[in-house]
Amino acid sequence: MEVPENGKSASLRHAFGNVFCFFILLLIGVLAFSIRLFSVIKYESVIHEFDPYFNYRVTQYLTKKGIYEFWNWFDDRTWYPLGRVIGGTVYPGLTLTAGSIWRLLNSLNIPLSVETVCVFTAPIFSAIAAWATYLLTKEVKGTGAGLTAAALLAMVPSYISRSVAGSYDNEAVAIFALIFTFYLYVKTLNTGSLFYATLNALSYFYMVCSWGGYTFIINLIPMHVLLCIVTGRYSPRLYIAYAPLVVLGTLLASLVPVVGFNAVMTSEHFASFLVFIIIHVVAFVYYIKGLLSPKMFKVAVALVVSVGMVVCCAVVAVLVALVASSPTKGWSGRSLSLLDPTYASKYIPIIASVSEHQPPTWPSYFMDINVLAFLVPAGIIACFLPLSDASSFVVLYIVTSVYFSGVMVRLMLVLAPAACIMSGIALSEAFDVLTRSVKFQLPGVSGNSQSGAGDTTSRTVDTQSDMVKTEKEPPTDRTEDTTKERTSKKKKKKEKEHVEKPSLKSQIQKRLLVLPLEASVIALLLLVLLGGVYVIHCVWAAAEAYSAPSIVLTSHSHDGLHVFDDFREAYAWLRHNTEVDDKVASWWDYGYQTTAMANRTVIVDNNTWNNTHIATVGTAMSSPEKAAWEIFNSLDVKYVLVVFGGLVGYPSDDINKFLWMVRIGGGVFPHIKEPDYLRDGQYRIDSQATPTMLNCLMYKLAYYRFVETDGKGFDRVRRTEIGKKHFKLTHFEEVFTTHHWMMRIYKLKPPKNRIRGKAKKSKSSSKGSTAASLKQSGRRKRNPWH
């Protein structure tokens, strides 16, 4: 123990440091929370985007009806007429969290609305996530790195993009759960405490409740365990960190309805079971090794290995047979597209059609993690000096998450905490080295080099003692715990040896690692500058790039700020002007919003669970009017809603998404063929467009009467004049178009009351077509089908 050596002053400094650290953490929390409030200040306190609306609706239901009703909720207002079993298909973590917060506040007589709670859930949890990052990094590299990492995470743009106030999505709580699970795993690994192992399983359970990304944890941790075993770092601590997690975690995970038997049936989880078997074999080998003499051990190894091989082969054969019998090899499409980035675009257009499932571009790395991208390599190097179980885990974490983020832009979110931890480590190590050099060489300091050296020693001792402390704390807890005393004592001794050896070495090393004064001062300045750049970028990203709620759009032009509130205008129109049981068809992107904001039944929504149903809507949109009418009528659809950005230049409208509708529709109904909609492989809507394109429902609904706006029909998104300008709708009638034409609502016409004769029609059209007769029967002539 080194602490008593330094005596009172050190412990006082320690106490001071702890208080200081506490306040820093508090400020980091405040920072994390407040940087996410730009969206509320600049826009309003409103739920953002698409999925959050569904979560909000579910939370409303939960707070109104209670948890059992929520669990058993069969929603008959989406996926008409199939309905959706919400309780069994939703990750309930976020909803339950926000519902509990709301209930707690209400029981404290703080009457907040559910919406307010939902809006602010994400900022609150990002503050907690920052603290969890502190804990994790502290376990890896000490307090300094922890605080730096927490500060970085509090404002990393990637995370901000998913957790601004109003962005009420699973990721908001899941990132906290992810980091916290990793913290508890590393903590267990460092202490070997069953208490933390149990907590770890519970935290994993919370993660499973919150987000489908839990498979990342259940694959990363086994990978790390395997790494430890392979590199000969197996220890009972590793066993305690891993085995309870698999057993308890799998049991708990299968309690979540949406996971259920998937926890043992799908390939995503197999790695953990395989490693579970391996770690037992290894533990058994170590146990035998302790029991037997070396000679006997060799014999035993031969025996065990041969038997083990046979068993392994049998198990692997069974697994392979099981896996091979399923068409997707037991993997879900999203996971498969992680392993093989081209998989989705080849086979599952519905996954590929989501922009956040696309691979990211290089600028998006700079946008989302900014300078961290450059600090990460330094952090990785720092992790190898010295390489501990914990730091090897973090290295593995960053390596895998870099790969995954390269596959799917959405998984940038998983990369962000890893990058923050790495950069935190790098920055704090760099500051450590530089400030030490400065301190060492400052001429003004009395007792100059010697005391400086002493100081350095005490500082290193500080960090060491920190580490020792973390390892010491649990044992002191456990002295009360008589049953486990034996094992922990053994461990403690081992650890002390393990820690003291490198500390002595590093003292010597560090004395040699002193840099010149000027260089270190300049380096310090540059580092501060780098941090400043990062902060400026983060604040800019939070304020400008990521706080737009996407249901309200703004644009700056020379004559001031324009607000486009068309989405809510259209949903409000639906809510007030249609029957409560009317069905509204739209592309699935707008399903959640329609159910939540307009309270109308939709055919498909953002929970893309039934590809055929979505393909039906896609087919209808890509069919000519009459065929589309028949499809929609068979689904009891009353209204069709399209999003059109051509007038104001809103690029993510239905015309731009249309090729995906064709692809998804054509995947199920082969009479829809993508080449029919392309002219020489080019997607165009101008006069060169194919007749199929110009006659499909989507084109007609988007551009109906569009020519009346400017006389030419100039589409500002596609930057071209539209191909077919003057046409009439025969089976649909326009009932509402919002102020900026961003949303257009059409009603299906009822079938004609009478069926008119045939012969006369040709006669009258040949003979007549006088203006008078056209005017007379104008209303009927729009619908001359039988």
Binding site: N72, F74, P81, L82, G83, N753, R756, G757, S764
Partner: protein
């Protein structure tokens, strides 16, 4: 939730704009009769009289009356329209082709009588309703085998036809034994049009041609494809009668005797009066008008209507169907009313049993599929108004506590888990205290 399932569509019975034409009292009351000239009023007086005695208010107007109007302040002034003005080229006042068709599309009834000299306007109205008159404006139906024997030999345009439609609903339960006299243009129907019915068909030997000109080309309309009188029941159950002959309704043909060529029997009085009267009863909704009320469903053993069913529930469904007799609603009795339990396709299709008092009922088990279902009754029978009822009802899966708690087949698993617990307990005790 409660609102979700209240969704009854009584498309067939919805009144539109008429005030006295209501679902409670579907027979028309006020009828506008448009005439070419007032002579028709007296020459067709028997027909008009029979309507008046049945309680209709007839409003006779000249077809080119400049004050003619079907509606005022958005309300229709009449429930039915009789066009006995085959030659009219333009109606007076605000009435035109579109107005007449709107009148029909808002659920009102129409009788159109054309003639050999029918104007384009009358032809257009007929065409809009799915009836195509012979395009030759001078053509008449000629039949050299089933013509009515008359004084002027060689004139075979007066046809004695007995090609009636086989429907008690349209022509009444009393069989029309005497042939109907017809003199006028023929028309054809589009065979794919399922709204229009041939009530009086020409015989196979009939053809349609201008009788005054020489037959140079084969006639375009021949045989039993020619329809003499047709009815249309629109999707909103408005009924339209289209006749190629105005004389069909005239006193002259009502009273004249019939002797069909080649037949020895000679009838004192033609079948026209019975035919036209029965047909007008059908057109003005005195017959064949159904309504469905009191659609109910509930779980077996309960009375209240649930907001949602669970899969495999047993349920009871009932509906009451009545027919309008002209004065009151009487129970409709049939054995072919079916209900569908429908979600994209019928999962259950059952024939309803009846208690002979208008109530139809059945019970069945909800299929083992959850989703938003509909109780659908689609009842379309010849001559009757179409009934199309649908009532939405969601079906949910089992709740978490509705599954069986203990399954017999799982007893080995229960046994193994409990023995495992016991074994672990014993092992722990032995391990801890056996040293």
């Amino acid at each position: 939730m409660a609102k979700l399932w209240i969704f009854v569509t009584l498309v067939s019975l919805l009144p539109f704009l008429g005030s006295s034409f209501s679902s409670e009292n579907p027979t028309d009351r006020r009828i506008l009769v448009l005439l070419d000239d007032f002579a028709i009023k007296s020459s067709h007086s028997i027909f008009f009289k029979s309507l008046q005695t049945r309680g209709f208010e007839l409003d006779f107007k000249l077809a080119d009356d400049p004050k003619l109007s079907l509606q005022r302040y958005g309300q229709y002034l009449y429930d039915g329209l009789i066009l006995f003005s085959p030659t009219i080229e333009r109606f007076g006042g605000s009435v035109d082709l579109a107005a007449v068709l709107d009148f029909v599309d808002s659920g009102h009834d129409l009788i159109v009588a054309a003639d050999a000299s029918a104007s384009d306007l009358i032809r257009d109205i007929a065409t809009e309703c799915g009836v195509e008159f012979d395009e030759d404006p001078a053509a008449m139906v000629i039949d050299h085998t089933s013509y009515a024997v008359s004084k002027t030999e060689g004139d075979h345009t007066l046809i004695a036809s007995d090609g009636f439609i086989q429907s008690d609903v349209i022509l009444g339960s009393k069989i029309i034994e005497v042939p109907v006299l017809f003199q006028g243009v023929g028309h054809t129907l589009n065979p794919t049009n399922n709204l229009v019915l041939k009530v009086l068909a020409a015989s196979p030997s009939a053809y349609s041609v201008n009788p005054k000109s020489k037959l140079s080309t084969p006639p375009s309309l021949t045989g039993s494809a020619i329809s003499l009188v047709s009815v249309v029941q629109a999707r909103n159950n408005a009924r339209i009668l289209i006749s190629g002959s105005l004389a069909l309704f005239s006193n002259q043909l009502f009273r004249s005797g019939v002797e069909k060529a080649g037949s020895s029997t000679k009838f004192e009085k033609s079948g026209n009066e019975q035919f036209v009267t029965e047909l007008s009863k059908w057109v003005f909704h005195e017959r064949g008008h159904l309504k469905a009320v009191n659609v109910r469903h509930n779980k077996v053993g309960e009375t209240g209507e649930p907001a949602i069913y669970r899969i495999n529930d047993d349920l009871e469904y009932s509906v009451e169907i009545y027919e309008w007799s002209g004065t009151s609603w009487v129970p409709y009795i049939a054995d072919d009313v079916q209900v569908q339990f429908y979600m994209m396709s019928p999962y259950v299709l059952k024939t309803l049993s009846t208690d002979q008092k208008g109530r139809y009922f059945t019970s069945f088990k909800v299929p083992d599929v959850y989703g938003v279902f509909q109780f659908k009754v689609e009842y379309q029978r010849l001559g009757y108004t179409s009934l199309s009822l649908s009532k939405q009802i969601p079906v949910r899966p089992f709740k978490h506590n509705e599954y069986e708690r203990f399954i017999t087949t799982a007893f080995p698993y229960y046994g193994s888990s409990f023995s495992m617990m016991a074994g672990f307990f014993i092992f722990t005790i032995t391990y801890l205290y056996n040293k």
